[in-house]
Symmetry: C2
Subunit: 280 residues, 2 copies
């Protein structure tokens, strides 16, 4: 389309590595596309097309039907056409999806635009997917979040011209925010007690487990974005219009590194992606 | 780009299925991209971008270096940028490439435009790749054809506005031509003794093996295309300009089915993809 530029993303999911053998095929079809759409959402793109390559140990019709149902239900929801792909026999179930979207020229969101003074926002709630990975049976909503994440497409499109940077939370808040800081050459302060925590973690009595889920659990597929302070009223309005919580969790600073503070203003250390804290 | 439309293709190559364990990494990098470019060539597109997903059993630096060298040498030759991808660890080496090209709106070649009376043409020579698969050491040029095919990009671009349909020969002449006939709802007569046969087959004394290589061997990655009789002088000129043999091998007919005739005008039967002959 004239005046539009392409946004592209690709992901390869391998049985035993990205999902368990025996994973429910319909949910797997949904998630395989959802993780790609989440990345398009972070660029502010409108999804348009997808390509699918499948390697299957055997032609299992009932598996294929379930997988296709999950994949195409999500594709239809966002008006995405399948424009190519291939299916082959291989010993390990492997799913490779490429998704393409369009965004008006020059308006694509990247990880590179955060500036000192910007607020840091996240959508929805954090930690649910990691909770469900640890306790598969304790919370149906958290399990759905893990297995059938909803890519924040509508939010991404509305953030064009409003956010200065964006990323989707696939690896965990601390690690993903770090990618924004690195690319934008800035630092950040985040207040742990402002983070929107998934309801599944409400009764959690192990604070270390909670922190691990919220800060470095990953797979929540919410969006993290930065916006100038002046934009905060517009972000609040957007939150109401979309019916999606958008929470201000901290601020971009000059310098480098990520500082996460507890309610007393003391630095928190956590595991995983948050180990980068040391150079904050 | 305004006035252009996208052409997309994707292929997944799996060790043990599409290539042997221990395949030379540089050649594998070349071929992984070449098979995608061959498909773009058949649409008349100019290749622009690629995405690469790799699953590797281990981070083998020397393998990765060889693979990258082969992949990027071919990419640079055609001015293609890598715009995305990911690398993960997985038990079986799996390569998934998506290639994107551009073609002026409304000029893309498809399999659907062949009309009764059109000539059928093929580029280059046929059967070399199949010969090399059977006899890996007998012909260095045939082995190169098998392991490092040259996608016919320049030819594809020049066929826009000249050819009525096109396809690349990945599965073998008979099977691939059949795809054109099915999509165009026409039939065809092909003269076996007009087919350009790879030099590696020159001394071949087993006529059945030769036919199998030429008609259903696959992996030659030449282009097959159809063009109106009036275009034959233009096709001959194009052949001279590109320094690439373009050979008229038969004619599109009303009806359905594929008839391949020997030098006496008798129908030939062959194996593999050519089994469709029965309903010709």
């Amino acid at each position: 389309m004239p005046g539009m530029e392409l946004s592209l993303t690709t992901d390869m999911l391998i049985e035993g590595r990205h999902f368990l053998p025996g994973a429910e095929p319909r949910a797997l079809g949904h998630k395989s596309l959802a993780v790609n759409l989440s990345d398009l959402a972070a660029s502010g793109a409108k999804p348009r097309w997808m390509m699918l390559s499948l390697s299957l140990p055997a032609a299992d019709e009932s598996w294929l039907k379930g997988f296709s149902n999950g994949l195409f239900a999500l594709a239809e929801q966002h008006g995405i056409d399948l424009v190519g792909g291939d299916t082959t026999r291989g010993a390990i179930l492997t799913i490779s999806i490429t998704a393409l979207g369009e965004v008006p020229c020059g308006t694509a969101l990247t990880r590179a635009g955060a500036a000192a003074g910007d607020d840091i926002w996240v959508s929805g709630a954090l930690g649910g997917a990691a909770f469900a990975l640890e306790y598969p049976m304790r919370s149906a909503p958290a399990a759905k979040r893990l297995h059938e994440p909803e890519p924040r497409i509508a939010l991404g499109e509305r953030l064009r011209g409003l956010a200065t940077s964006a990323i989707d939370l696939s690896d965990g808040l601390a690690g993903d925010l770090r990618h924004v800081l690195d690319r934008s050459r800035v630092g950040a302060v985040v207040h742990y007690d402002r983070l929107p925590t998934d309801a599944a973690l409400a009764g959690e009595r192990n604070p270390e487990f909670e922190k691990r889920c919220v800060l470095s659990g990953g797979e929540d597929y919410e969006l993290l974005f930065t916006a100038p302070r002046e934009a905060s009223a517009a972000v609040d309005t957007l939150s109401r219009e979309l019916g999606l919580p958008l929470t201000r969790i901290g601020c971009i600073e000059e310098g480098a590194g990520l500082l996460i503070l507890d309610s007393e203003g003391r630095p928190i250390r956590a595991s995983g992606a948050f180990d980068h804290f040391a150079d904050g």
